[in-house]
Amino acid sequence: MAMGTLITAAAVLAGINVLLLIPLLGVWVRNYATFRTGLVAGLVAFALAMLVENAVALYFFFSMQSFYAGDPHVQQAVLVLRALQFVAIAGLSYTTLR
């Protein structure tokens, strides 16, 4: 069965989130190597957890489609949550990389 449009959109957003989190993680790992402060360790842990979360979400979107197939409301909710997370990560990327 083809993937629903909403879940496809959610998967694209999760992919973009991963692409944004990789450079963020890179910046913070490098800064941790330089400064070794607790704040940066926290940022590294945060980015890692978000990266894993988005990777797991992608896995669910592609491999466990029966989770979402039945109910369009579930698909909408999944898309909204993914979109909000994208906004959060995009904002953090802007302030971190400039």
Partner: protein, 135 residues
Amino acid sequence: MASVPPPELAVVHAHDSDRRGVDGRAAERQTFETGTNSQDTRGMEKALWYLLTATRGGANRARIIDALTERPMNANELADELDVGYKTIRHHMEQLEEHDVVESGDEDYAKLYFLTDRFDQYRDTFEDIVEQMDR
């Protein structure tokens, strides 16, 4: 017996004076905070943590601050001193200036950058942040 207030009145009085006491302290604390600009200085601590440890190029910003501690320099001198591109230096200077860590002279050409007095008050914070750094 007539001079002793009924228990419930006494309770109300105690509460009243408690509240006055708390309000009084709160007001005092507020005056103290605005009086010493501690809101400003908390802002400086946060700015330093953000500019140095949370963003790309934080290590170079720390090296810029170190260099300006020795003497005021212009962007070209900083670029030579730190072996970093001129444009990168200009970008960092904009960020540092925006957060009131450095200030520059009025010249249009080769203007010198200085560390601000506000930064100097928070040099301890800077030293804490760069403690583990190879300098």
